[in-house]
């Protein structure tokens, strides 16, 4: 199947500052791709390049098989939704939806049909005669999505569309965007720095850092098999525990640090067992206690330092042989700081990275 969007050797610099470095991405038809990364890593820049709002420095962009590297934004078959909504404040909702179409010289009936359809999909029919100032944040963002919708395009671009909304609305609208995608089956590229949004919405996630893509994979793979230490650290909240040490493969694979050493035979190495200095990472939610210890080949005694009850679960900050570790327990768990407890994990769920390259081994 042909790609919906194909980005080849794309680079962009502002003067001497390289913001995007030689990116290559293929996005399939109907795929929901999320660009995730910390602030300033170039997510918006990449999106603007795809939209044609920025002139690339090098490389090519194809949308639906057409080379659009030099095409105007309006000729690329894209619709875009912005963080600040960017609605035209002096026009009604209807005016906002239809202005672009009118300008393109579309027939009145057709405009009407499209506006009605978008309003129906987004459930903003009662708002059509209002001006943006008279709408709530969530309603405004719906209108902004509607403006992309009426264009009847193959590709939707979202630049942090939910960042200006409060937590509750954000969760609601997130579900709606997902529903919209299932109904329309368009290709969508969605920029965010909220990993929950990324993990829940995406078919695939691209983690960016400094203008490079660190990993481009399904949420599942990003979470369970992060390609490098940056991705491992970035995804997951609270973040992964890291132990510094050396892998010894003289016998059964073994992880040795200054204070502890344990057997890691259950771990699936990328290219077979590899020795040398390494980071050993284990997610807080993969550390178990109590009865579950039966399935945990590696076990330690830990001293609890701090307990953070969070309702559905409890976050425990502890020390193992002087090394800090944190993990999740049940929300009902009765732990107090100063308690001694036994914890453990299965090395099969761990992530090991080369000390030097920080790549997964």
């Amino acid at each position: 199947m042909e790609s919906s969007i194909s980005i080849r050797d794309l680079s962009l610099s502002f003067g001497a500052v390289k913001v995007l470095r030689n990116l290559n991405i293929e996005i399939g038809q109907g795929e929901f791709l999320v660009l995730l990364g910390s602030s300033g890593c170039g997510k918006s820049t990449l999106l603007n390049c795809i939209a044609g709002l920025l002139d690339v420095t090098d490389g090519q962009i194809f949308i639906q098989g057409k080379n659009v590297t030099w095409a105007e934004p309006s000729d690329r078959g894209i619709g875009m939704v912005f963080q600040s909504y960017a609605l035209y404040p002096q026009m009604t909702v209807e005016g906002n939806l239809s202005f672009g179409l009118k300008n393109a010289g579309m027939a009145k009936d057709e405009i009407k049909k499209r506006v009605a359809r978008a309003a129906e999909i987004l459930q903003i029919e009662p708002l059509l005669k209002r001006k943006p100032a008279a709408l709530s944040g969530g309603q405004r963002q719906r209108v902004a999505i509607g403006r992309a919708l009426v264009r009847d395009v193959d590709v939707f671009l979202f630049d942090e569309p939910l960042s200006n909304l409060d937590a509750k609305l954000r969760a609601d609208l997130r579900v709606e965007i997902k529903r919209l995608h299932q109904r329309l089956k368009n290709t969508m590229i969605y920029v965010t720095h909220d990993q929950v949004e990324a993990l829940t919405l995406a078919d695939r996630i691209a983690i960016m850092k400094g203008g490079n893509i660190q990993q481009l994979a399904s949420p599942n793979e990003i979470y369970n098999k992060p390609a490098n230490k940056y991705v491992a650290d970035f995804i997951g909240s609270p973040s992964m525990n890291f132990l510094e040490g050396v892998i010894d493969i003289s016998g059964a694979p073994q992880f040795n640090s200054d204070v502890m050493s344990f057997d890691i035979s259950g771990y699936e190495f990328v290219d077979g067992p590899t020795g040398g200095p390494a980071w050993f990472g284990i997610r807080p939610e993969h550390i178990v206690t109590g009865e579950l210890l039966a399935n945990a080949p590696v076990q330690f005694d830990a001293e609890v330092e701090l307990v953070e009850p969070m309702g559905s679960d409890t976050l425990v900050w502890a020390k193992v042989e002087g090394v800090p570790m944190h993990f999740r327990m049940d929300g009902q768990a009765e732990v107090r700081s100063g308690d001694q407890m036994r914890i453990g994990f299965d090395p099969a769920r761990a992530n090991i990275f080369n000390k030097e390259t920080e790549l997964r081994i």
Binding site: E2, S6, R8, D9, D55, V56, T57, D58, G59, Q60, F62, G65, N67, V68, T69, W70
Partner: protein, 303 residues
């Protein structure tokens, strides 16, 4: 796959930045218009300079745009020290020094009063403060002409009519709305925690002003100074109304020199005098650049 056709050899395919002609139609329109406009704006300055460097015979023969054939600084010397106003013939120098004597105290007094006042309005609001402030701002829109004569009477009552300090008071009064607004807005924009912390430490009105507010507000004082120096230097109306001829500021003297009906018109001297008068604000403008723009954008109320 489409790959085979496109990758990297196909040079006819669009790739990299969109090719743009350096001289696109848009650019020609934009830069063309701006150049014409810049030319229109620079023209008077150019004319002033070349005229002031020519001798009178050359002016009578040539046109005002042609550069001087023979550069002479005679007109400048004459404008500075010999030009006649109808009353006396000691040139603009007298007006220059008068303007300095007027501007320096006026700028200082008006800024001191307005900054303290703005600070009181921003951080020490008392009942009725807003009402007075509103009247003050409205006052900025009242044509000066309405208040000219009442102020004459007031100054006469306190014995300052026709004196330097009378004029200083007038400049302080008419500078107050914009300056107070400027300072009040600035002090309001400072983090309130600073002020509260100082209050908790027991600092009073003046201590907080001098030790916390002043050190943090240097830029706004510079903006206020630029605004006031140019405004007061350029004033004409108050100068004529509230001072006596021997105290006339430079603008008034300039006008008297150029528009005096006696004698032959010496255009080169006139232009030298005009340039001399414009020199102080021009230097301030070109040196201060962005701060000047910030000042006028912050409160474009200027007569």
């Amino acid at each position: 796959m489409a790959d085979t056709a496109v990758h990297p050899a196909a040079s006819s395919e669009p790739r990299g930045p969109k090719p743009r002609k350096k001289l696109s139609r848009n650019n020609i329109i934009i830069y063309g218009t701006l150049l014409v406009v810049a030319f229109y704006y620079l023209l008077p300055l150019y004319v002033m300079v070349v005229t002031s460097l020519k001798g009178m015979p050359e002016i009578r023969l040539g046109n005002i745009f042609s550069p001087p054939v023979e550069i002479t600084f005679e007109p400048w010397v004459k404008a500075w020290s010999q030009a006649c106003t109808g009353l006396n013939c000691d040139g603009l120098s007298r007006g220059f020094w008068n303007s300095i004597r007027i501007t320096v105290p006026s700028v200082i007094v008006s800024i001191v009063i307005a900054s303290v006042n703005g600070y009181a309005l921003a951080n020490w609001k008392f009942k009725g403060a807003d009402a007075f402030f509103t009247i003050l701002i409205f006052g900025a829109f009242i044509p000066y002409q309405v208040m000219l004569y009442p102020i004459v009477i007031m100054l006469r009552e306190i014995g300052l009519y026709g004196t330097l300090w009378g004029l200083v008071i007038v400049h302080t009064i008419f500078g107050m709305p914009i300056l107070t607004l400027l300072f009040r807005n600035y002090f309001t924009s400072l983090p309130e925690e600073l002020f509260k912390a100082a209050r908790v430490d027991g600092a009073g009105f003046w201590r907080i002003y001098f030790q916390i507010m002043l050190p943090m507000s240097l830029p706004i004082f510079v903006v206020a100074m630029i605004l006031q120096v140019t405004g007061i230097w350029n004033d004409f109306l108050f100068g004529v109304v509230y001072t006596k001829p021997d105290l006339y500021p430079m603008t008034v003297q300039l006008n008297n020199i150029v528009n005096s009906v006696q004698g032959v018109k010496e255009y080169n001297v006139n232009m030298a005098a005009t340039l001399l008068t414009g020199l102080v604000p021009l230097v301030i403008y070109f040196v201060s650049g962005k701060l000047f723009v910030r000042g006028i954008a912050a409160g474009a109320v200027k007569g």
